[in-house]
Point group: C2
Chain length 209, copies 2
């Protein structure tokens, strides 16, 4: 059975909330409490989890550690994932310096840039390689995930190159609706789109001039 992508997207939220509960020593949690923490209805949580089997007992809530372990297994969160970053400008450097990836098993192992002034420099422990060599480097030592932090006009070419290297998951910071073949996943990190989705609700009360 194919699980709806929106369900998959909610599972990491559940895992994160459960990990926080576990770190505070909690053993059991109800779908009500979990839902309240995450702004999701309890019914939604129960329905999402039902795709993966039976968790929890009616009226007794979920065993925190058991459900967390199961979600980690389902999502592949209990492993290390190798990532290649393409684009080591201002944004790329912030990504290289981001301390939130490693504790979650995401490790940037290669970084590329096309600027001659940047190639060869070491940033956050990684020597920046030339984007022109991307396919050669990654075909010899493959990665799981590509992070694209290049300008919009270069992004599709970079994504195509990553796909040719066998990368099947791409985190795209460039403001384009990129195309990938079936079987490749791409998610966009796009603060402007997020802002533009909120101004609709602000329209009638702007303070900006």
């Amino acid at each position: 059975m194919e699980i709806p992508p929106v369900v998959i997207d909610r599972l990491p939220l559940y895992a994160r909330a459960l990990a926080a509960l576990e770190s505070r020593g909690r053993e059991v949690v109800s779908s009500q409490e979990l839902g309240q923490q995450l702004n999701v209805t309890p019914a939604q949580i129960r329905k999402d989890l039902s795709y993966f089997g039976r968790f929890g007992k009616q009226g007794r809530g979920y065993n925190v550690r058991k459900l967390l372990d199961e979600l980690r297994r389902i999502l592949g969160l209990n492993r290390q994932w190798k990532m290649a970053l393409v684009g080591a400008g201002r944004l790329g450097r912030a990504i290289l310096g981001y301390e939130g990836f490693a504790p979650q098993g995401f490790r940037i192992v290669e970084a590329f840039d096309s600027d001659r002034g940047t190639v060869g420099f070491t940033i956050a422990g990684l020597t920046i390689k030339d984007t022109a060599d991307l396919e050669g480097v990654l075909s010899g030592s493959p990665v799981d995930i590509g992070i694209v932090a290049v300008p919009a006009e270069m992004a599709q070419d970079v994504i195509d190159a990553l796909v040719r290297c066998g990368v099947r998951a791409i985190l795209n910071y460039a403001p384009i609706a990129a195309h990938v073949p079936r079987g490749v996943n791409i998610k966009r990190i796009d603060p402007v789109l997020a802002l533009q989705g909120m101004t609709y609700y602000l329209k009638n009360s702007a303070v900006g001039k």
Copy 2:
């Protein structure tokens, strides 16, 4: 009629694609072509737009400029929006330096940090103020949007303070499921969640060790 939030979230994508078409001199576009560019079905586009009235004529496609103007008006993209950034660490500085906001009408007019070594410094033309003074500053000169780039454990307090200052749209970079009162919009920028939503699909073919 209340428009589903997922519909509102797709409109900026349509606007962006239409702006690109307009800049290339295109006058008319079909829902097929627009859909193909954006990986959305033509039926979805027609349905989304139908919430806002009648656009385009059967078999003749959409007038690019007219539809773009209309979407900009609907989304409030034809104005300036004032933003306050809270958190001027590595991530906050990358946000301050991000060149994608201004051309879209989003302007950071205040930046705050709680680190004594950072307060008073000028970054990207803005003097960083003390987060302790946030409510005083913003009550005197309100903003439309708050950007939260503080560590997870401080994020909810900062969000509460922004809400008390009348901010009704928040872009949250901190990895927490924050709570806001009804009538306040919050969107999360969370690369780890995005990655964790993709590893589900990678699980059976990891190269990482």
